[in-house]
Amino acid sequence: MRFLVLIAFGAALALPTYARAVTPDEMLKDPALEARARHLSQELRCMVCQNQSIDDSEAPLAHDLRVLVRQRIAAGDSDREVLDFLVARYGEFVLLKPRVEWRTLILWGLPPAALLAGLIALLAMARRRPENEPAPLSADERRRLAALLEDGRGEP
């Protein structure tokens, strides 16, 4: 998994060897605000890391972003405003959950569309099925079947 990335690029990768992540001095005094900050941090990408949120990353940039998020929260921003602020500054790349818009339509739309299409296809198949049902056995066939079954029972 992560290790495979590592063996692909060896030491050249900027993956952390461990995470210091949030440090005590960064935290907000108010536990409710801090909880909001932690929650938001998990939705924000550390842009110099590989697929890590700023909550997990030890990179200096992640530290700066964590502090920034907490400053905005302390200044009274709503969650939405904090995210808008960061997107205006760093672009959509900073969001780990892309916003639903035209260019992410396929991304968000494909899973439900695929499920729906699959269900519709299955329903259509289930409806078509009865036509394919073989004709009921005739009296003669039934007699032969019974005879065959009788034979089968005699086997060791």
Binding site: M1, P16, Y18, L96
Partner: protein
């Protein structure tokens, strides 16, 4: 001399693979027994030569022959022997050699144990295996040769990346590759069937054990990787939705779907075309998984272009096998006859629903993993798709799947009785609702998702137990009779039950950790304590220690519960000499199924250390569940019906049990 020997053996394997790619196909076409027979010998010889090649490379690592470039890059004479061995596959070139070693092993196994396969099918399967093998030998020889020498051999190697010097990683890559490559057999069988234009239930009986084995290894490989990431990366996450993890999850999801649809095909001769398609798709995803990771395209689109030869080669292999496989499918699949009618409410129907949900989840992971790349290539815009996306899309699909799991094994083949099954699941429903309600009562309405997850897990687990209880007649018959029926129950039925229980255990672990994990992040000076979840953890001090190829500073913490010491935790920081890298070793204390998790942060000026302490309730269930799933696979694999060439009587007990 030894590296040249390995190099030469690989070239010989390529030559054999080229022969095996053509001769058996021609033989199968002309019904020429001798040409078809050839494939069996070449497959075994190929395995022999690749083994020699791999052994030669291993010898270079063990003897620290730094005149070989890859050994110099990835090894060090001071490393313990185990890491010298694991560094054979701890890099791109070596891991590709491991890949072909496993590929040739599977080819040889088919050659040796495929005695009762129809000769043309066996010949075609081995030929397709050889197409794959030839492509990979060429890839290794031309772009990733592990045996290249350095003109001026250095005295010391650069060392294996310290983060990879870990016992967990000794087994993770081989397990993962056994899974990835194992699916190649299903692929080869599918392609061979398409070439033949003929497929029957016996085909599924041959394909199922291979798929099952591959699935088992992949399950264990993913679990191992997840546990490694959990204790290594230092914040106690067990799954990150990292593209590299997704690359291994996709073949697992498709492979799980394949297992279930192959069961339908074997028992009821239905879903043939779909099963063949799934076999092609599953291995395609394994190939994509291997190459997403190998090519570097995941880190950035530009990394791909840095090594154009490798990148183009990879693309060519992907296009040839995935594109070729699907094209062949489109052309030949109409020849395969449909069979096995069934009503929508039946075991077949349930397994189709299983397939729909699994493939949709797989598609979700695929689109989430590749969309940022596609968007960047198409428009230049950069977006990120991370855990919050998958939590919103994948998780609901998977919960939906879980809610359907208990119904499958209880429904009858062909035409099932949903009302009857629902009634038989009353106990499972009751337990699930009780569990969910209890969670809500204790935790309040905010724990909605927790109670849903727990309820579903209980439902799946009890459902699996109900299935076994009903089949054995426990509580209904005398204990002796039930025991004898339990013995007579096909292993495959036990396998299903175990795999489903494992799934439920994993879900419980995930829900518990996501909902009830607790953490403290504090700076501690010696003899200061921090309290968490009823435990007091005291920082005793830091000592220095020397390892074979590193120095470490070990912090000692004493864990107490109610004033009584229960143990000592010793997280450390290691400085590796060769690479001048520092890693942090987390400390774990297992308490039943839960763990205390301690990671060391910075050491501050006044002798204080920053400590991240977590309590992870029931966390071990996540991986125990995966192990139980794999155990289910093993049980199923040991079923007489699946052992190729098993004697007939097995068939009768199987029928009697259903």
């Amino acid at each position: 001399m030894i590296p040249e020997l390995g190099h030469y053996a690989l070239v010989l394997a390529l030559a054999l693979a080229l022969v095996q790619s053509i001769a058996p196909c021609v033989g199968a076409h002309r019904r020429d027994g001798a040409l078809m027979q050839l494939a069996a010998s070449t497959a075994v010889m190929q395995f022999g030569f690749v083994t020699i090649s791999f052994a030669a490379l291993t010898a270079c690592y063990v003897t620290s022959d730094f005149s070989v470039a890859t050994v110099f890059e990835n090894s060090n004479s001071q490393m313990p022997l185990i890491y010298k061995l694991t560094s054979v596959w701890g890099n791109h070139e070596g891991s590709m050699l491991l890949w072909v070693l496993i590929l040739s092993l599977f080819g040889a196994l088919v050659a040796v144990f495929g005695g009762n396969l129809p000769p043309t099918l066996k010949a075609n399967v081995l030929a397709v295996q050889s197409w794959l093998a030839a492509a990979f030998y060429l890839f290794i020889l031309f772009t990733s040769n592990p045996f290249l020498r350095l003109p001026h051999p250095p005295f010391e190697g650069r060392d294996l990346n310290p983060i990879l010097q870990d016992p967990g990683l000794a087994v993770h890559p081989p397990l993962l590759y056994l899974g990835y490559v194992g699916f190649s057999i299903a692929f080869s069988f599918a392609i061979a069937a398409l070439i033949d234009g003929r497929i029957d239930a016996a085909w599924a009986r041959w394909v199922r054990p291979w798929t099952l084995a591959a699935w088992m290894f992949l399950t264990l490989g993913i679990a191992m990787g997840s546990y490694w990431a959990y204790y290594t990366l230092g914040w106690g996450g067990f799954w990150f939705w990292d593209p590299v993890e997704n690359a291994s999850l996709m073949p697992w999801l498709a492979g799980t779907a394949l297992l279930h649809s192959a069961a339908v095909m074997e028992k009821r001769n239905a879903l043939k075309i779909w099963t063949v398609l799934l076999a092609i798709l599953t291995f395609s995803l394994s190939l994509i998984g291997t190459f997403l990771v190998r090519s570097g395209v995941l880190t950035s689109v530009h990394a791909f272009a840095n090594d154009p030869l490798r990148g183009v080669f990879i693309l060519a292999i992907l296009v040839a096998f995935i594109g070729g496989g699907l094209a062949l499918f489109a052309w030949r699949a109409p020849l395969l006859r449909r069979g096995g009618l069934f009503a929508p409410i039946s075991r077949e129907g349930a397994l189709i629903l299983n397939n729909l949900l699994l493939t949709t989840s797989c598609l979700t992971v695929l689109v989430g993993t590749l969309y940022p790349l596609a968007l960047e290539v198409a428009t230049g815009a950069k977006i990120s798709v991370g855990p919050p996306f998958f939590n919103l899309t994948f998780v609901p699909l998977f919960l939906l799947l879980m809610s359907a799991v208990p119904f499958g094994p209880l429904l009858a083949w062909k035409r099932g009785d949903l009302a009857g099954v629902t009634q038989r699941l009353t106990a499972a429903f009751a337990l699930a609702i009780l569990g969910a309600a209890a969670t809500l009562a204790v935790q309040g309405a905010a724990a909605g998702l927790t109670s849903l997850g727990l309820g579903l897990a209980l439902f799946v687990m009890t459902g699996a137990v109900v299935d076994v209880v009903e089949r054995t007649g426990l509580f209904r018959l005398s204990p002796g009779a039930a025991l004898s029926r339990a013995r007579g129950l096909p292993r495959a039925a036990w396998g299903t039950a175990f795999a489903h229980v494992g799934l439920a255990l994993t879900l419980i672990g995930i829900v518990a950790v996501e909902s009830w994990a607790d953490e403290r992040i504090v700076a501690l000076k010696p003899s200061q304590s921090v309290a968490l979840s009823g435990y007091d953890v005291t920082f005793d001090g830091v000592t220095a220690r020397n390892g074979p190829n590193y120095r470490e500073r070990v912090a000692t913490f004493t864990v107490r519960k109610g004033g009584v010491a229960v143990g000592v935790m010793t997280p450390s920081k290691r400085s590796f000499r060769a690479r001048e890298m520092t890693t942090s070793q987390t400390a774990l204390m297992t308490l039943g199924l839960s763990q205390l998790y301690l990671a060391l942060g910075d050491v501050e000026g006044d002798g204080a250390v920053v400590v991240r302490l977590y309590h992870k309730p029931l966390v071990l269930l996540i991986w125990i569940g995966a192990a139980v799933m794999a155990l289910g696979g093993a049980l199923s694999l040991s079923d007489r019906r699946l052992r190729v060439g098993a004697p007939r009587p097995a068939l009768r007990s199987a029928i009697a049990a259903e």
